[in-house]
Symmetry: C2
Subunit: 278 residues, 2 copies
Protein backbone atom coordinates (compact mmCIF):
# COMPACT_ATOMS: atom_id res chain seq x y z
CA UNK A 1 0.00 0.00 0.00
CA UNK A 2 3.00 2.25 -0.50
CA UNK A 3 3.15 5.49 1.48
CA UNK A 4 -0.40 5.47 2.78
CA UNK A 5 -0.94 5.30 6.50
CA UNK A 6 -3.09 2.54 7.95
CA UNK A 7 -5.82 3.76 10.25
CA UNK A 8 -7.32 0.82 12.06
CA UNK A 9 -10.40 2.84 12.93
CA UNK A 10 -11.04 3.43 9.23
CA UNK A 11 -11.44 -0.28 8.61
CA UNK A 12 -14.97 -1.44 9.28
CA UNK A 13 -15.29 -4.67 11.25
CA UNK A 14 -18.16 -7.11 11.27
CA UNK A 15 -19.09 -6.29 14.85
CA UNK A 16 -19.87 -2.62 14.54
CA UNK A 17 -20.63 -2.25 10.84
CA UNK A 18 -24.34 -1.79 10.13
CA UNK A 19 -23.69 -2.14 6.40
CA UNK A 20 -20.84 -2.44 3.90
CA UNK A 21 -21.03 1.30 3.33
CA UNK A 22 -20.44 2.15 6.99
CA UNK A 23 -17.59 4.63 7.60
CA UNK A 24 -16.58 4.04 11.18
CA UNK A 25 -14.15 6.94 11.37
CA UNK A 26 -17.01 9.34 10.60
CA UNK A 27 -19.06 7.83 13.45
CA UNK A 28 -16.12 8.16 15.81
CA UNK A 29 -15.27 11.71 14.74
CA UNK A 30 -18.86 12.82 15.39
CA UNK A 31 -18.76 11.06 18.78
CA UNK A 32 -15.64 13.05 19.63
CA UNK A 33 -17.43 16.32 18.79
CA UNK A 34 -20.48 15.35 20.86
CA UNK A 35 -18.32 14.41 23.82
CA UNK A 36 -17.87 18.17 24.39
CA UNK A 37 -21.64 18.53 24.88
CA UNK A 38 -21.56 15.85 27.56
CA UNK A 39 -18.54 17.16 29.45
CA UNK A 40 -19.27 20.87 28.78
CA UNK A 41 -15.59 21.91 28.95
CA UNK A 42 -12.29 21.78 27.03
CA UNK A 43 -10.81 18.27 27.16
CA UNK A 44 -7.54 16.42 26.68
CA UNK A 45 -7.36 13.42 24.34
CA UNK A 46 -7.42 11.22 27.46
CA UNK A 47 -10.61 12.93 28.69
CA UNK A 48 -12.27 12.36 25.32
CA UNK A 49 -11.15 8.72 25.22
CA UNK A 50 -12.59 8.20 28.71
CA UNK A 51 -15.83 9.92 27.76
CA UNK A 52 -16.37 8.13 24.44
CA UNK A 53 -14.74 4.74 24.94
CA UNK A 54 -12.73 5.27 21.74
CA UNK A 55 -9.03 4.26 22.08
CA UNK A 56 -6.68 7.14 22.92
CA UNK A 57 -4.54 6.87 19.79
CA UNK A 58 -7.62 7.11 17.58
CA UNK A 59 -9.05 9.99 19.64
CA UNK A 60 -5.79 11.86 19.21
CA UNK A 61 -5.94 11.47 15.42
CA UNK A 62 -9.54 12.69 15.35
CA UNK A 63 -8.78 15.71 17.56
CA UNK A 64 -5.74 16.64 15.47
CA UNK A 65 -7.80 16.26 12.28
CA UNK A 66 -10.59 18.40 13.77
CA UNK A 67 -7.98 20.99 14.73
CA UNK A 68 -6.53 20.98 11.18
CA UNK A 69 -10.07 21.57 9.91
CA UNK A 70 -10.78 24.34 12.41
CA UNK A 71 -13.51 22.57 14.42
CA UNK A 72 -11.36 22.33 17.54
CA UNK A 73 -8.40 24.32 18.83
CA UNK A 74 -5.56 23.13 21.02
CA UNK A 75 -3.94 25.39 23.62
CA UNK A 76 -1.10 22.96 24.39
CA UNK A 77 -3.08 21.38 27.19
CA UNK A 78 -6.65 20.72 26.11
CA UNK A 79 -8.83 20.75 23.01
CA UNK A 80 -11.94 22.97 22.78
CA UNK A 81 -14.60 23.19 20.10
CA UNK A 82 -14.56 26.36 17.98
CA UNK A 83 -17.51 28.25 16.45
CA UNK A 84 -16.91 26.24 13.29
CA UNK A 85 -18.69 23.36 15.08
CA UNK A 86 -21.70 25.65 15.39
CA UNK A 87 -21.93 25.55 11.61
CA UNK A 88 -22.74 21.82 11.75
CA UNK A 89 -25.88 22.38 13.79
CA UNK A 90 -26.71 25.51 11.84
CA UNK A 91 -26.70 23.31 8.73
CA UNK A 92 -29.79 21.59 10.10
CA UNK A 93 -31.51 24.84 11.03
CA UNK A 94 -31.06 26.49 7.64
CA UNK A 95 -31.85 23.36 5.61
CA UNK A 96 -35.00 22.63 7.63
CA UNK A 97 -37.80 25.10 6.95
CA UNK A 98 -39.45 24.39 10.33
CA UNK A 99 -37.13 26.59 12.35
CA UNK A 100 -37.35 29.68 10.12
CA UNK A 101 -41.07 29.28 9.53
CA UNK A 102 -41.96 28.74 13.21
CA UNK A 103 -39.81 31.40 14.91
CA UNK A 104 -41.89 34.54 14.10
CA UNK A 105 -45.13 32.67 14.89
CA UNK A 106 -43.82 31.69 18.32
CA UNK A 107 -42.85 35.30 19.04
CA UNK A 108 -46.27 36.49 17.89
CA UNK A 109 -48.02 33.84 20.03
CA UNK A 110 -46.14 34.97 23.14
CA UNK A 111 -47.27 38.56 22.67
CA UNK A 112 -50.85 37.64 21.85
CA UNK A 113 -51.23 35.10 24.64
CA UNK A 114 -49.71 37.41 27.25
CA UNK A 115 -52.09 40.17 26.20
CA UNK A 116 -55.11 37.88 26.38
CA UNK A 117 -54.06 36.31 29.70
CA UNK A 118 -52.80 39.25 31.69
CA UNK A 119 -53.07 37.40 35.01
CA UNK A 120 -50.85 34.48 33.96
CA UNK A 121 -47.11 34.89 33.69
CA UNK A 122 -46.06 33.31 30.37
CA UNK A 123 -42.38 32.44 30.50
CA UNK A 124 -41.51 31.32 27.00
CA UNK A 125 -42.60 29.43 23.94
CA UNK A 126 -40.95 27.22 21.40
CA UNK A 127 -41.14 24.52 18.80
CA UNK A 128 -39.36 21.26 19.52
CA UNK A 129 -38.70 18.08 17.58
CA UNK A 130 -37.96 14.63 18.97
CA UNK A 131 -34.55 13.03 18.50
CA UNK A 132 -34.83 9.54 19.95
CA UNK A 133 -35.25 9.97 23.73
CA UNK A 134 -34.74 13.72 23.70
CA UNK A 135 -36.48 16.80 22.39
CA UNK A 136 -34.57 19.69 20.81
CA UNK A 137 -35.86 23.24 20.40
CA UNK A 138 -35.69 24.45 16.78
CA UNK A 139 -37.48 27.72 17.56
CA UNK A 140 -37.55 29.55 20.86
CA UNK A 141 -38.70 32.90 22.25
CA UNK A 142 -38.83 34.35 25.71
CA UNK A 143 -41.81 36.16 27.18
CA UNK A 144 -41.68 39.42 29.08
CA UNK A 145 -41.64 37.80 32.53
CA UNK A 146 -38.66 38.64 34.71
CA UNK A 147 -38.29 34.92 35.35
CA UNK A 148 -36.15 33.20 32.75
CA UNK A 149 -35.51 29.58 31.87
CA UNK A 150 -32.09 28.49 30.68
CA UNK A 151 -33.30 27.44 27.23
CA UNK A 152 -32.35 28.46 23.70
CA UNK A 153 -32.59 27.19 20.15
CA UNK A 154 -30.83 23.82 20.22
CA UNK A 155 -31.54 23.13 23.89
CA UNK A 156 -32.30 19.47 24.60
CA UNK A 157 -34.29 17.75 27.35
CA UNK A 158 -35.42 14.19 28.03
CA UNK A 159 -38.60 13.67 25.98
CA UNK A 160 -40.60 11.90 28.71
CA UNK A 161 -40.51 14.79 31.21
CA UNK A 162 -41.47 17.56 28.76
CA UNK A 163 -44.90 18.43 27.37
CA UNK A 164 -43.49 18.57 23.83
CA UNK A 165 -41.89 15.16 24.32
CA UNK A 166 -45.15 13.62 25.54
CA UNK A 167 -47.07 15.05 22.56
CA UNK A 168 -44.43 13.59 20.24
CA UNK A 169 -44.38 10.22 22.02
CA UNK A 170 -48.20 10.15 21.86
CA UNK A 171 -48.14 9.93 18.05
CA UNK A 172 -45.98 6.80 18.02
CA UNK A 173 -47.84 3.56 17.33
CA UNK A 174 -48.28 1.23 20.30
CA UNK A 175 -45.22 -0.93 19.56
CA UNK A 176 -42.95 2.08 19.07
CA UNK A 177 -44.29 3.65 22.25
CA UNK A 178 -43.60 0.50 24.30
CA UNK A 179 -40.11 0.31 22.82
CA UNK A 180 -39.49 3.94 23.71
CA UNK A 181 -40.84 3.48 27.25
CA UNK A 182 -38.56 0.47 27.69
CA UNK A 183 -35.57 2.68 26.81
CA UNK A 184 -36.66 5.47 29.20
CA UNK A 185 -35.13 5.89 32.63
CA UNK A 186 -37.36 7.90 34.94
CA UNK A 187 -35.86 10.40 37.33
CA UNK A 188 -37.49 12.36 40.11
CA UNK A 189 -37.18 16.09 39.37
CA UNK A 190 -39.84 17.33 41.83
CA UNK A 191 -42.40 15.87 44.21
CA UNK A 192 -44.88 15.90 41.31
CA UNK A 193 -42.74 13.94 38.82
CA UNK A 194 -44.45 10.75 37.61
CA UNK A 195 -42.94 7.85 39.52
CA UNK A 196 -43.23 4.91 37.18
CA UNK A 197 -43.63 3.75 33.63
CA UNK A 198 -47.31 2.98 34.16
CA UNK A 199 -48.11 6.58 35.14
CA UNK A 200 -46.03 7.86 32.22
CA UNK A 201 -47.81 5.60 29.70
CA UNK A 202 -51.13 6.81 31.07
CA UNK A 203 -50.08 10.49 30.73
CA UNK A 204 -48.94 9.89 27.13
CA UNK A 205 -52.18 8.09 26.25
CA UNK A 206 -54.13 11.03 27.72
CA UNK A 207 -52.09 13.40 25.50
CA UNK A 208 -52.88 11.15 22.52
CA UNK A 209 -56.60 11.17 23.29
CA UNK A 210 -57.01 14.89 23.94
CA UNK A 211 -54.50 16.07 21.32
CA UNK A 212 -52.51 18.24 23.71
CA UNK A 213 -50.48 17.88 26.85
CA UNK A 214 -49.82 19.70 30.10
CA UNK A 215 -46.86 18.98 32.39
CA UNK A 216 -47.48 20.68 35.70
CA UNK A 217 -44.57 21.16 38.13
CA UNK A 218 -43.14 17.75 37.23
CA UNK A 219 -39.93 19.10 35.72
CA UNK A 220 -39.55 22.27 37.79
CA UNK A 221 -41.49 23.56 40.78
CA UNK A 222 -43.79 26.44 39.78
CA UNK A 223 -43.46 25.63 36.05
CA UNK A 224 -46.44 24.54 33.94
CA UNK A 225 -45.87 23.64 30.28
CA UNK A 226 -48.46 23.16 27.55
CA UNK A 227 -47.92 21.58 24.13
CA UNK A 228 -49.90 20.96 20.98
CA UNK A 229 -48.79 18.94 17.93
CA UNK A 230 -47.54 20.45 14.67
CA UNK A 231 -48.32 18.45 11.52
CA UNK A 232 -46.60 18.39 8.16
CA UNK A 233 -48.45 18.55 4.83
CA UNK A 234 -49.20 14.81 5.07
CA UNK A 235 -50.88 15.15 8.48
CA UNK A 236 -47.92 13.52 10.28
CA UNK A 237 -46.97 15.15 13.60
CA UNK A 238 -43.38 16.32 13.16
CA UNK A 239 -42.96 18.79 16.01
CA UNK A 240 -44.71 20.28 19.02
CA UNK A 241 -45.52 23.86 19.89
CA UNK A 242 -44.99 24.73 23.54
CA UNK A 243 -45.81 27.52 26.01
CA UNK A 244 -44.56 27.61 29.60
CA UNK A 245 -46.22 29.56 32.39
CA UNK A 246 -45.70 30.11 36.07
CA UNK A 247 -47.83 27.51 37.88
CA UNK A 248 -51.27 28.67 39.02
CA UNK A 249 -53.22 26.70 41.66
CA UNK A 250 -56.26 26.74 39.37
CA UNK A 251 -55.72 26.49 35.59
CA UNK A 252 -59.41 26.41 34.69
CA UNK A 253 -59.84 30.18 34.12
CA UNK A 254 -57.22 30.25 31.36
CA UNK A 255 -56.30 26.78 30.12
CA UNK A 256 -58.82 26.54 27.29
CA UNK A 257 -58.06 30.07 26.04
CA UNK A 258 -54.32 29.33 26.09
CA UNK A 259 -54.80 26.09 24.14
CA UNK A 260 -57.09 27.84 21.67
CA UNK A 261 -54.37 30.41 20.95
CA UNK A 262 -51.74 27.68 20.66
CA UNK A 263 -53.87 25.69 18.20
CA UNK A 264 -54.43 28.82 16.09
CA UNK A 265 -50.66 29.42 15.99
CA UNK A 266 -50.02 25.75 15.16
CA UNK A 267 -52.47 26.04 12.24
CA UNK A 268 -50.64 29.14 10.97
CA UNK A 269 -47.26 27.41 11.16
CA UNK A 270 -48.69 24.36 9.36
CA UNK A 271 -50.10 26.60 6.64
CA UNK A 272 -46.77 28.36 6.14
CA UNK A 273 -44.98 24.99 6.05
CA UNK A 274 -47.29 23.85 3.25
CA UNK A 275 -46.37 26.96 1.27
CA UNK A 276 -42.66 26.23 1.71
CA UNK A 277 -42.92 22.47 1.04
CA UNK A 278 -45.87 22.00 -1.32
Amino acid sequence: MGATVEHDDDEPTASDEPGRHFVRSLERGLKVIEAFAVEKRPMTAVDVADSTGIPRAAVRRFLLTLTDLGYTRYDGRAFALTPRALQLGYSYLVSSPLSAVAQPHVEELLKRAQKALSKVSILDGGVAVRDQNEIAYVAYARGTSIFRLNISQGSRFPAWITSTGRVLLAVLDDDELEESLARTTLKSYTAATLRNCEELRSAILTARKQGWCVVDQEFEEKLTAFSVPLKDQNGRTVAALNLSTIHEPDRSPYESLLLEQMRATAARIEEDLRLVQP
Copy 2:
Protein backbone atom coordinates in the same frame (compact mmCIF):
# COMPACT_ATOMS: atom_id res chain seq x y z
CA MET B 1 -6.84 -7.79 4.67
CA GLY B 2 -9.45 -10.52 4.95
CA ALA B 3 -13.09 -9.50 5.18
CA THR B 4 -12.58 -5.79 5.72
CA VAL B 5 -13.87 -3.40 3.11
CA GLU B 6 -11.47 -0.96 1.48
CA HIS B 7 -12.62 2.62 1.51
CA ASP B 8 -10.42 4.61 -0.81
CA ASP B 9 -11.49 7.85 0.88
CA ASP B 10 -10.21 6.53 4.20
CA GLU B 11 -6.68 6.31 2.85
CA PRO B 12 -4.82 9.57 3.26
CA THR B 13 -2.82 10.73 0.27
CA ALA B 14 0.14 13.07 0.21
CA SER B 15 -1.77 15.80 -1.59
CA ASP B 16 -4.52 16.43 0.92
CA GLU B 17 -3.02 15.11 4.12
CA PRO B 18 -1.89 17.90 6.45
CA GLY B 19 -0.28 15.34 8.75
CA ARG B 20 0.11 11.61 9.24
CA HIS B 21 -2.75 11.69 11.72
CA PHE B 22 -5.22 13.17 9.22
CA VAL B 23 -8.48 11.23 8.88
CA ARG B 24 -9.80 12.21 5.49
CA SER B 25 -13.15 10.45 5.86
CA LEU B 26 -13.93 12.63 8.87
CA GLU B 27 -13.17 15.75 6.82
CA ARG B 28 -15.38 14.52 4.01
CA GLY B 29 -18.22 13.48 6.30
CA LEU B 30 -18.27 16.95 7.89
CA LYS B 31 -18.22 18.51 4.41
CA VAL B 32 -21.28 16.44 3.53
CA ILE B 33 -23.12 17.76 6.61
CA GLU B 34 -22.17 21.36 5.84
CA ALA B 35 -23.31 21.00 2.23
CA PHE B 36 -26.88 21.19 3.58
CA ALA B 37 -26.16 24.67 4.97
CA VAL B 38 -25.02 25.81 1.54
CA GLU B 39 -27.89 24.33 -0.45
CA LYS B 40 -30.53 24.83 2.29
CA ARG B 41 -32.68 21.86 1.18
CA PRO B 42 -32.85 18.05 1.16
CA MET B 43 -30.38 16.63 -1.37
CA THR B 44 -29.69 13.46 -3.34
CA ALA B 45 -26.23 11.89 -3.24
CA VAL B 46 -25.63 13.42 -6.68
CA ASP B 47 -26.57 16.89 -5.39
CA VAL B 48 -24.14 16.51 -2.47
CA ALA B 49 -21.38 15.25 -4.78
CA ASP B 50 -21.92 18.26 -7.06
CA SER B 51 -21.92 20.64 -4.10
CA THR B 52 -18.84 19.24 -2.34
CA GLY B 53 -16.71 17.88 -5.16
CA ILE B 54 -16.49 14.53 -3.34
CA PRO B 55 -16.96 11.50 -5.64
CA ARG B 56 -20.52 10.15 -5.74
CA ALA B 57 -19.68 6.66 -4.44
CA ALA B 58 -17.97 8.15 -1.38
CA VAL B 59 -20.81 10.64 -0.82
CA ARG B 60 -23.28 7.77 -0.88
CA ARG B 61 -21.33 5.89 1.79
CA PHE B 62 -21.17 8.99 3.99
CA LEU B 63 -24.89 9.71 3.60
CA LEU B 64 -25.81 6.09 4.38
CA THR B 65 -23.50 6.15 7.42
CA LEU B 66 -25.02 9.45 8.60
CA THR B 67 -28.48 7.90 8.15
CA ASP B 68 -27.46 4.82 10.18
CA LEU B 69 -26.29 7.19 12.91
CA GLY B 70 -29.46 9.31 12.79
CA TYR B 71 -27.89 12.56 11.51
CA THR B 72 -29.68 12.34 8.17
CA ARG B 73 -32.87 10.63 7.01
CA TYR B 74 -33.69 9.29 3.56
CA ASP B 75 -37.21 9.43 2.13
CA GLY B 76 -36.40 7.26 -0.91
CA ARG B 77 -35.56 10.30 -2.98
CA ALA B 78 -33.39 12.71 -1.03
CA PHE B 79 -31.44 12.95 2.20
CA ALA B 80 -32.21 15.61 4.83
CA LEU B 81 -30.43 16.50 8.05
CA THR B 82 -32.26 15.58 11.27
CA PRO B 83 -32.28 17.43 14.62
CA ARG B 84 -29.44 15.13 15.68
CA ALA B 85 -27.17 17.37 13.57
CA LEU B 86 -28.27 20.25 15.78
CA GLN B 87 -26.53 18.47 18.65
CA LEU B 88 -23.16 18.97 16.92
CA GLY B 89 -23.48 22.74 16.99
CA TYR B 90 -25.05 22.65 20.41
CA SER B 91 -21.91 20.86 21.59
CA TYR B 92 -20.01 24.07 20.94
CA LEU B 93 -22.59 26.25 22.66
CA VAL B 94 -22.73 24.19 25.86
CA SER B 95 -18.97 23.59 26.06
CA SER B 96 -18.17 27.29 25.49
CA PRO B 97 -19.08 29.45 28.48
CA LEU B 98 -19.34 32.57 26.27
CA SER B 99 -22.81 31.81 24.95
CA ALA B 100 -24.45 31.03 28.31
CA VAL B 101 -22.65 33.87 30.09
CA ALA B 102 -23.43 36.50 27.44
CA GLN B 103 -27.10 35.76 26.66
CA PRO B 104 -28.76 37.30 29.77
CA HIS B 105 -26.46 40.34 29.56
CA VAL B 106 -27.46 40.96 25.95
CA GLU B 107 -31.14 40.77 26.87
CA GLU B 108 -30.58 43.15 29.77
CA LEU B 109 -28.64 45.57 27.54
CA LEU B 110 -31.48 45.68 25.00
CA LYS B 111 -33.99 46.63 27.69
CA ARG B 112 -31.71 49.18 29.33
CA ALA B 113 -30.57 50.79 26.09
CA GLN B 114 -34.10 51.02 24.70
CA LYS B 115 -35.26 52.67 27.90
CA ALA B 116 -32.41 55.18 27.84
CA LEU B 117 -32.77 55.92 24.12
CA SER B 118 -36.51 56.08 23.62
CA LYS B 119 -36.22 57.93 20.30
CA VAL B 120 -34.01 55.31 18.65
CA SER B 121 -35.46 52.00 17.49
CA ILE B 122 -33.08 49.29 18.73
CA LEU B 123 -33.58 46.15 16.65
CA ASP B 124 -31.47 43.52 18.31
CA GLY B 125 -28.23 42.71 20.05
CA GLY B 126 -25.83 39.82 20.12
CA VAL B 127 -22.40 38.45 20.74
CA ALA B 128 -20.50 37.10 17.76
CA VAL B 129 -17.21 35.29 17.28
CA ARG B 130 -15.06 35.15 14.15
CA ASP B 131 -14.63 31.90 12.23
CA GLN B 132 -12.16 32.67 9.45
CA ASN B 133 -13.94 35.04 7.03
CA GLU B 134 -17.28 34.85 8.80
CA ILE B 135 -18.80 35.85 12.09
CA ALA B 136 -21.25 33.59 13.97
CA TYR B 137 -23.68 34.72 16.66
CA VAL B 138 -23.27 32.76 19.91
CA ALA B 139 -25.80 34.91 21.79
CA TYR B 140 -28.70 36.82 20.30
CA ALA B 141 -31.75 38.74 21.49
CA ARG B 142 -34.38 40.75 19.71
CA GLY B 143 -35.56 44.18 20.79
CA THR B 144 -39.17 45.28 21.02
CA SER B 145 -39.24 46.95 17.59
CA ILE B 146 -41.81 45.61 15.16
CA PHE B 147 -39.03 45.37 12.58
CA ARG B 148 -37.17 42.10 12.76
CA LEU B 149 -33.95 40.84 11.27
CA ASN B 150 -33.64 37.25 10.15
CA ILE B 151 -30.93 36.39 12.67
CA SER B 152 -30.64 33.82 15.45
CA GLN B 153 -28.01 32.09 17.54
CA GLY B 154 -25.73 30.39 15.00
CA SER B 155 -26.41 32.87 12.19
CA ARG B 156 -23.35 33.65 10.09
CA PHE B 157 -22.38 36.66 7.99
CA PRO B 158 -19.25 37.72 6.09
CA ALA B 159 -16.93 39.31 8.69
CA TRP B 160 -15.90 42.31 6.57
CA ILE B 161 -19.42 43.75 6.17
CA THR B 162 -20.46 43.47 9.84
CA SER B 163 -19.53 45.72 12.75
CA THR B 164 -18.63 42.67 14.87
CA GLY B 165 -16.45 41.33 12.07
CA ARG B 166 -14.58 44.64 11.73
CA VAL B 167 -13.97 44.79 15.50
CA LEU B 168 -12.62 41.24 15.37
CA LEU B 169 -10.49 41.89 12.27
CA ALA B 170 -9.13 45.04 13.95
CA VAL B 171 -7.39 42.99 16.64
CA LEU B 172 -5.41 40.93 14.13
CA ASP B 173 -1.77 41.92 13.75
CA ASP B 174 -0.86 43.70 10.51
CA ASP B 175 0.29 40.56 8.66
CA GLU B 176 -2.80 38.58 9.63
CA LEU B 177 -5.01 41.50 8.64
CA GLU B 178 -3.38 41.78 5.20
CA GLU B 179 -3.75 38.03 4.72
CA SER B 180 -7.42 38.20 5.68
CA LEU B 181 -8.03 41.18 3.39
CA ALA B 182 -6.39 39.27 0.54
CA ARG B 183 -8.87 36.42 1.07
CA THR B 184 -11.89 38.78 1.21
CA THR B 185 -14.17 39.31 -1.78
CA LEU B 186 -16.10 42.54 -1.51
CA LYS B 187 -19.68 42.71 -2.63
CA SER B 188 -21.98 45.68 -3.00
CA TYR B 189 -24.95 45.29 -0.64
CA THR B 190 -26.15 48.91 -0.72
CA ALA B 191 -25.07 52.23 -2.17
CA ALA B 192 -23.10 52.81 1.05
CA THR B 193 -21.10 49.55 0.99
CA LEU B 194 -17.34 50.16 0.95
CA ARG B 195 -16.14 49.66 -2.59
CA ASN B 196 -12.59 48.48 -2.28
CA CYS B 197 -9.99 46.88 -0.07
CA GLU B 198 -8.38 50.25 0.66
CA GLU B 199 -11.58 51.68 2.14
CA LEU B 200 -12.14 48.47 4.12
CA ARG B 201 -8.60 48.51 5.57
CA SER B 202 -9.12 52.11 6.57
CA ALA B 203 -12.46 51.30 8.30
CA ILE B 204 -10.84 48.41 10.19
CA LEU B 205 -7.90 50.58 11.27
CA THR B 206 -10.37 53.21 12.50
CA ALA B 207 -12.13 50.49 14.54
CA ARG B 208 -8.74 49.42 15.93
CA LYS B 209 -7.88 53.00 16.91
CA GLN B 210 -11.19 53.94 18.52
CA GLY B 211 -11.92 50.52 20.05
CA TRP B 212 -15.40 50.24 18.57
CA CYS B 213 -17.05 50.12 15.19
CA VAL B 214 -20.15 51.39 13.44
CA VAL B 215 -21.42 50.04 10.12
CA ASP B 216 -24.04 52.42 8.79
CA GLN B 217 -26.38 51.23 6.01
CA GLU B 218 -23.57 49.32 4.31
CA PHE B 219 -25.13 45.89 4.78
CA GLU B 220 -28.82 46.88 4.72
CA GLU B 221 -30.51 50.19 3.98
CA LYS B 222 -31.81 51.82 7.19
CA LEU B 223 -29.70 49.54 9.41
CA THR B 224 -26.95 50.87 11.66
CA ALA B 225 -24.86 48.41 13.69
CA PHE B 226 -22.48 49.15 16.56
CA SER B 227 -19.91 46.79 18.07
CA VAL B 228 -17.43 46.78 20.92
CA PRO B 229 -14.82 44.11 21.68
CA LEU B 230 -15.17 41.43 24.38
CA LYS B 231 -11.92 40.33 26.01
CA ASP B 232 -11.02 37.10 27.78
CA GLN B 233 -9.18 36.95 31.11
CA ASN B 234 -5.86 37.45 29.28
CA GLY B 235 -7.01 40.66 27.62
CA ARG B 236 -7.33 38.98 24.23
CA THR B 237 -10.39 40.03 22.19
CA VAL B 238 -12.37 36.84 21.61
CA ALA B 239 -15.78 38.13 20.61
CA ALA B 240 -17.72 41.30 19.85
CA LEU B 241 -20.88 42.69 21.41
CA ASN B 242 -23.29 44.21 18.92
CA LEU B 243 -26.43 46.39 18.86
CA SER B 244 -28.38 47.21 15.70
CA THR B 245 -30.66 50.22 15.32
CA ILE B 246 -32.81 51.73 12.65
CA HIS B 247 -30.65 54.31 10.84
CA GLU B 248 -31.00 57.91 12.03
CA PRO B 249 -29.78 60.79 9.85
CA ASP B 250 -27.87 62.20 12.85
CA ARG B 251 -26.29 59.75 15.31
CA SER B 252 -24.66 62.40 17.48
CA PRO B 253 -27.50 62.72 20.04
CA TYR B 254 -27.28 59.06 21.06
CA GLU B 255 -24.10 57.39 19.79
CA SER B 256 -21.92 58.04 22.83
CA LEU B 257 -24.67 56.99 25.28
CA LEU B 258 -25.25 53.78 23.31
CA LEU B 259 -21.54 52.96 23.27
CA GLU B 260 -21.28 53.71 26.98
CA GLN B 261 -24.04 51.21 27.72
CA MET B 262 -22.45 48.63 25.43
CA ARG B 263 -19.06 49.02 27.11
CA ALA B 264 -20.67 48.62 30.53
CA THR B 265 -22.35 45.39 29.35
CA ALA B 266 -19.09 44.16 27.80
CA ALA B 267 -17.35 44.75 31.14
CA ARG B 268 -20.05 42.74 32.95
CA ILE B 269 -19.74 39.85 30.50
CA GLU B 270 -15.95 39.90 30.84
CA GLU B 271 -16.27 39.83 34.63
CA ASP B 272 -18.64 36.84 34.52
CA LEU B 273 -16.32 35.06 32.08
CA ARG B 274 -13.44 35.48 34.54
CA LEU B 275 -15.57 33.87 37.24
CA VAL B 276 -16.31 30.89 34.98
CA GLN B 277 -12.76 30.52 33.62
CA PRO B 278 -10.45 31.74 36.36
